[in-house]
């Protein structure tokens, strides 16, 4: 138990910074990312493309591109610093304690193995299940994710299944060993809206029943608001605001958050209400990036916004935001 008597976070990311070395320069993809996640909690990482949300997820899973370098920070998971753990230890963790489901499920599954076999493989590798028992357990998992006629579908190949079914298979694979943390990287992009609802409901239900922590990566604020307890907004590699969901929408503190909400069609009553976000993402390869990477697009900018370091504040109600002139 931590001093204020709440349970210690299952996952604590502290001051994470990641760089990519490319031909055209070093991309400072992440800078100073920090958040915590407790068991049973759902946190959304929301941002546009290029905000660094997937990079954060991959850093936690330890599956970053080889060109990536983690220049600072810790990722503490169940007391263990994942960044210090060796590859062997990480391989053990993945699948057993940490699980991830990806966008575009059909391409994330192995096209030449039946889906039942793919689930069974995970069970055998990580789940202490014998090769004889695995097929039956795989069918049970398929039933758990509500695939109709699971016995027959276990022999199907990914190309024979619809997008929604493939995503359910991925969920089955991810949750086969009852991990403590599930990362869902844009799990419903590309799926129909009714399928999206079903998949998200399924994830939420399984997460609740297994008391699992969920990290949802998405660009869809509506989706985040419906399924997540807390939302963390990312912009250009910075975490600009984090707050419980109702508070974030009722009273956003960071200007970017407010602009993002105003740009979401779901929020606007008519087209005239929809407001574009001025400017564009700064080039993360620049050497002269300002301290606040939103400052060049912000209407409230003053000269001290460019000064180092970026000011990160924690408000009395537990909210965090990184702004010198919050709303």
């Amino acid at each position: 138990m931590s001093p204020d008597n709440r349970p210690v976070p299952l996952l604590a990311v502290e001051d994470l910074a990641v760089e990519f070395r490319t031909r055209s320069g070093t991309v400072r993809a992440l800078d100073g990312i920090g958040f915590g996640l407790r068991r049973g909690e759902t946190l959304a990482l929301v941002g546009e493309s290029g905000s660094g949300k997937s990079v954060t997820a991959y850093a936690i899973m330890g599956i970053l591109d080889p060109a990536a370098r983690i220049t600072s920070g810790r990722i503490v998971f169940g007391g263990l610093d994942l960044l210090q753990a060796g590859e062997k230890a990480m391989a053990e963790m993945r699948g057993r304690e940490l699980a991830i489901i990806f966008q575009n499920p059909r391409t994330a599954l192995n096209p030449i193995h039946p889906v039942g076999r793919q689930i069974a493989d995970i069970l055998i590798r990580h789940g202490n299940v014998t090769a004889a028992q695995a097929p039956r357990r795989a069918v049970e998992m398929l039933a758990k994710v509500r695939i109709p006629d699971p016995q027959r579908r276990a022999a199907a190949y990914p190309f024979e299944l619809s997008g929604g079914m493939c995503q359910r298979v991925m969920i089955a694979m991810a949750l086969a060993c009852e991990p403590a943390l599930l990362i869902a990287d844009e799990p419903t992009t590309g799926l129909d809206i009714t399928t999206q609802a079903v998949i998200m409901d399924l994830i939420a239900e399984l997460a609740a029943s297994q008391h699992m922590a969920t990290l949802l990566i998405t660009h869809d604020l509506g989706l985040a608001s419906e399924y997540c307890d807390r939302i963390a907004v990312m912009h250009a590699g910075h975490l600009v605001e984090m707050a419980p969901t109702p508070l974030l929408f009722a009273a956003p503190r960071h200007p970017y958050t407010a602009k993002l909400i105003a740009a979401t069609p779901a929020e606007a009553s008519h087209l005239g209400r929809l407001a574009a976000i001025p400017g564009s993402l700064p080039d993360l390869r620049r050497a002269d990036l300002p301290a606040c990477r939103y400052s060049e697009r912000c209407e409230r900018v003053t000269s001290d916004c460019q000064e180092m370091p970026l000011l990160r504040l924690t408000a009395a109600d537990g909210r965090q935001f990184a702004c010198r002139h919050p709303l």
Binding site: T194, A197, A204, L221, S225, E226, Y227, T264, P265
Partner: protein
């Protein structure tokens, strides 16, 4: 709604694809037919934006391509301001003077731009093929199209891989409006774009519609976007249009059970904790050789009765300008005014 002749009128449109012979069926049996579009009729008025929504497999992409005359219908007619464009085969439509009247903006701007063409060449393509212009006039027209879509002139010499998603979308739109069409078919033009870029493109589309006196058919699966841009909405399911009506009314009080389920699946901001959802059990029925006397939505509908599986529902008038293909459409609760948005039956 104006009583003028509509700019685009579709009647009884069907598109059937023969499937290969099924395994196990003897050689003599007729090939199965996939009913991609199964009897669609609607009209688009001048300056109107009609939204076409539906999920994957409902046939909206096929319908969009039929209207754009990229494929030929099996049955039915398409009239563009009194000219029956469905009479000209798709293969020859490119040479018809009507080709320029109806253009299309594609979903994936990256895929719809030739990687070897500069933006200038891409926008100039329809002008080169469909208009006789001098070199200088061509240049002027391309630059004007770029200006109208907010594309900076210096980007015209770039290739698609050197442009951002939003810029590519603008090139696609500029290309479509360069020949001054009457009708623009937009096939999910913003679904591949970031939220902030999407806003800009949507507002651009609204502005262009005004300035250039265009009519739009806006195909999308994103109901929020459709709600903002469209005057009227058509809901498509399994090749049929199951409901149509003004956007505001349709969203506030859907008449068809499928529309209702669709709307309830849309995540809403501020609805923390999940809302009551109208589930859609099972999968859609097969579009191959569908039984002609069963409602296409039967099997997933919570309001189904014996009637629904013994007779195809008729097109019902729910209210002026609103139709639904259903035996038991959801009627507004008594006491609600015709103009007030009625809350949909979800918690």
């Amino acid at each position: 709604m104006s009583a003028d002749r509509p700019v685009l009128a579709v009647t009884g449109l069907r598109k059937l694809y023969p499937m290969g012979k099924m395994r196990g069926v003897s050689r003599g049996a007729a090939a199965s037919l996939l009913h991609a579009v199964d009897g669609v009729s609607f009209a688009i008025g001048h300056g109107e934006t009609v939204g076409l929504v539906g999920e994957s497999g409902c046939g909206k992409s096929t319908l969009a391509r039929l209207l754009a005359r990229l494929i030929d219908p099996t049955e039915g007619t398409i009239q563009l301001e009194d000219e029956e464009i469905s009479a000209v085969p798709a293969r020859r439509f490119g040479r018809s003077p009507l080709r320029a009247q109806i253009q299309m903006v594609f979903q994936d701007a990256t895929d719809s731009l030739n990687p070897r063409f500069t933006a200038f060449r891409a926008i100039a393509d329809p002008l080169l093929r469909l208009r006789r212009l001098s070199h200088a006039a061509l240049r002027a027209r391309v630059e004007e199209a770029a200006r109208l879509t907010g594309l900076p002139q210096e980007l015209l010499t770039r290739f698609p891989h050197q442009l951002s998603g939003g810029q590519k979308a603008r090139v696609g739109i500029a290309r479509a409006i360069a020949v001054e069409p009457r009708v623009l078919i937009l096939d999910e033009p913003t679904s591949a774009l970031d939220v902030s870029v999407q806003v800009v493109i949507l507002q651009l589309l609204a502005e262009l519609r005004q300035r250039l006196d265009l009519s739009y058919l806006f195909v999308s699966h994103d109901l929020n976007v459709v709600r903002l841009l469209c005057d009227r909405i058509l809901v498509m399911y399994l090749g049929h249009i199951v409901e149509s009506g003004p956007a505001g009314r349709l969203f506030a009080a859907p008449a068809h059970p499928y529309t209702q389920a669709l709307l309830s699946a849309v995540p809403k901001i501020g609805s923390c904790g999940r809302q009551q959802r109208i589930g859609l059990p099972g999968e859609p029925r097969s579009p191959i050789d569908p039984a002609p006397d069963i409602c296409p939505f039967y099997g997933r509908c919570s309001r189904a009765t014996e009637l629904c599986k013994s007779a195809m529902p008729p097109l019902r008038d729910i209210a002026p300008g609103r139709h639904a293909v259903c035996h038991f459409p959801i009627v507004e609760a008594a006491g609600a005014g015709a103009d007030s948005p009625v809350a949909v039956a979800i918690a």
